[in-house]
Subunit: 154 residues, 2 copies
């Protein structure tokens, strides 16, 4: 199947990619602004993957180490994360989500999902059905996206 993939399919990925790009870039403008996107993304990463080093988080989120160091300090002061030392390496700080942090991630995700759901509810039934059928593909894309940046779950 993969061998005989025609060029038309490669055109399809560009067209689909275009639709997803438009959707994503516009959706990001609606995200809450109570904290920076990097902060929110970091919390979501911790929620997904569990505790991480500061340097790992910096790489995953695409910022410098000092930025992540400061970000973690601010979020620690806000009670959203806590620091733990790593017994196997005294240099290392492991960043862990607190219950308040996990709660924040859930609420933020819920609000974001609801916003999408509101739009989807305005679609005709056949379009909703098509999206439902495409759900595994969308989830697969999201998973590929994460794995590329986060690597396997530790």
């Amino acid at each position: 199947m993969r061998m005989g993939r025609p060029d038309a399919a490669s055109g399809a990925s560009t067209t689909i990619g275009s639709a997803l790009y438009e959707l994503a870039t516009r959706a990001v403008r609606r995200l809450p602004r109570d904290m920076s996107l990097t902060s929110a993304a970091t919390l979501a990463t911790l929620d997904r993957t569990g505790p991480r080093r500061i340097t790992e988080l910096a790489v995953i989120e695409g910022v410098t180490q000092p930025a992540m160091s400061v970000l973690v300090r601010v979020m620690e002061e806000s009670g959203l994360v806590e620091r733990r030392s790593d017994t196997s390496d005294k240099r290392v700080t492991l960043v862990c989500l607190t219950e308040a942090g996990a709660s924040y991630v859930r609420e933020r995700r819920q609000a974001g999902v609801q916003a999408y759901a509101g739009l989807i509810d305005r679609l005709p039934g056949d379009e909703i059905e098509a999206l439902t059928a495409a759900l595994p593909a969308l989830l697969h894309l999201a998973a590929l996206e994460s794995q590329d940046r986060e690597g396997p779950k530790p």
Copy 2:
């Protein structure tokens, strides 16, 4: 059809919304950082809708008027936009995309689309087919998203 929509469909919009939320929030971490997201979004808005007032752009992009005023000045200095007065109202500055600005939007969009396409190319054929079938729905969602913020094209 709409009359008899069962509750299961409303659960579907939440599930689909969840997948789209995960995808969008992770994709945003990969966007180029040569300018702020607000700047890039503003250029894209101008590309889509044509010239706009500074106050309109501020509302559309969810920032304050002074932020947009400064942003426009910086982008004007970079040659990405130009200002035009409005003959019918001397207070008004219309912000217009330059050719360089339009070019930048295209290149940035192209890069974003390519990144998605790269992921999509790693999906099995049946998932790609499902996404292709869902394309009208995705485009419809993107359109709804824009209209909610931008109103009709002027």
